[in-house]
Amino acid sequence: MGMTVTEKILAAHAHQPTVRPGDVVVVDVDAACVDDVQFHIFRNRLREMGDVIRDPDRMLLVADHYTPPVGLAEAAVVGALGQFGRERGIRTFLREGIKHPLLIEEGIARPGDLIVATDSHTNTAGAVGAFAAALGPTDMAALAVTGRTWLRVPPTIRLEIDGTLPPYVLAVDVALAVLADFGLGFADYRAVEWTGDTVRDLGLNGRMTLCNLTTEFGAKNGIVEPRTGTGTAGGPDAPAGPHSDTDAVFESVHHYDAAAFGPVVAVPPSPANVHPVSTVAGTRIDQAYLGSCTHGSIEDLRMAATVLRGRRVHPDVELLVTPPTRRVYEAALRDGTMEALAASGATICAPGCGSCPGIHAGTLAKGQVRISTQSRNFVGRSGHPDSLVYLGSPLVVAAAAVAGVITHPADVLAGQS
């Protein structure tokens, strides 16, 4: 009996010839990343467990939610994280951006690797064909002490997308439509494997978005089978890695024709509450947000710039742009993307998680409405409990920024707004 790509990676890291769904295995990891939000808990637990780090070379520290700090408490966390990294000889990123695209940009997450991080969107790194899953800071402290952790082998749901996406349709439109079909958490405790021509041709940026949103599916990990030469700007080309066997056993397989997708918006308060952009057109917005790990590459900013170049942001709208990483920021400066965004009236923020978690620049006030490229729109996610967050692609967000209301990107590009 064959294995899925997820099963192969887990078996290899458990030093076993095979694993089956339901097996609890003790595994080696290639990289373990602790972030600023969970650093306090990690640090305290590590002390409780003896304060020894078995393999500092496999650990990473990333400050991405709080940087640059807005308050004393956040400043204290980031300061302590930096100091800890220096003292223990751990590779530390204090101002380079969000861990998920960073893991890929830095070449830390590679095909066949097993990656864990204290962040629910760790699934993103599955875009390169790695097994990447979230792990809490207590588990991370135990991993630091023992050098290993345990995982239960998940059953795999396979999603096959074939064909050519229609104009104005991006990876996020595909993932949100799938989420709407099956519901929030449909992949709880499971692996989600993306495959098919469309996925192969999306490029690394689109595959990062697909894997990122498997977190909202409930998946333990999202993964794209690595295929030679399909990587695009924003990261290295993905070399060959493990594939699912032709006789691998999937819990379920679902096939989509890419031509059936259209630009969509997820209406608050759930990412699964998905509607065609045309049905919510005219919804007034106060803020438009381009950022977050759901759109972690230069391609996403370039896409927004195709709408914003030569146009002005609506006078009643605040457009915030948070480059996901410093490298993306620099690339966007070099190729004119950033100039186009800034000239349209956008406010450019420092690389990081930015305004998505509601603890940094751009927090929403009571009653305010945002449209965003982020992945979550739960009650109070980005500010006041009575604020609203609509989710959409960089094209949809940029179009809304210009129009002042949610609108189809084609309408703005045609000059109707």
Partner: protein, 186 residues
Amino acid sequence: MSTSERDVAAARRAWCFGDFVDTDAIVASRHLSSADPANWSAQVFAEIRPDFRGGVRAGDVVVAGRRFGTGSSREHAAIALRGTGIHAVLAESFSRNFYRNAFNSALLLLEVPGARELVADGDLVVVDVAAGSVRNQSTGAEGVILPVPELALRICQAGGLPAWLAANGNTWTGAASREPSGSGGF
């Protein structure tokens, strides 16, 4: 976790919630930078159930629908809930991150099919993990608790992962096992 006979027989007040209670709703992001877990505990359900913190008593249970603990993987949510003194969370299902974090912090999570139909807010319930049963003392209705994965239960009974790991000689010896697929977090 407490498993004495007396505790098993105890009738516990239920605090009921709906589907998809996310970790932002358990503890909002702006409280996470505090280093003191008491500050997280003080904010539990502050926005979705403002009367919870003042009213909850040690030994009470939280009852919810599908995917309790969804969203952000912040472990603060599990630690804060544990800090309120509740005995357990009974739900249809849990988010994987929350599930693992909870057992690591010795917060007992129990998957109970039909939990929300079985229990209404304010009902008194009797929870028996060993027998795999839950009884609504207020209505007489009975429900089933799905088996808790053995490793999770062992970690919880030890008082959380640091204590379990110390007792296990800082190794994972004995952790590998086989669990029924498709239920029980992780």
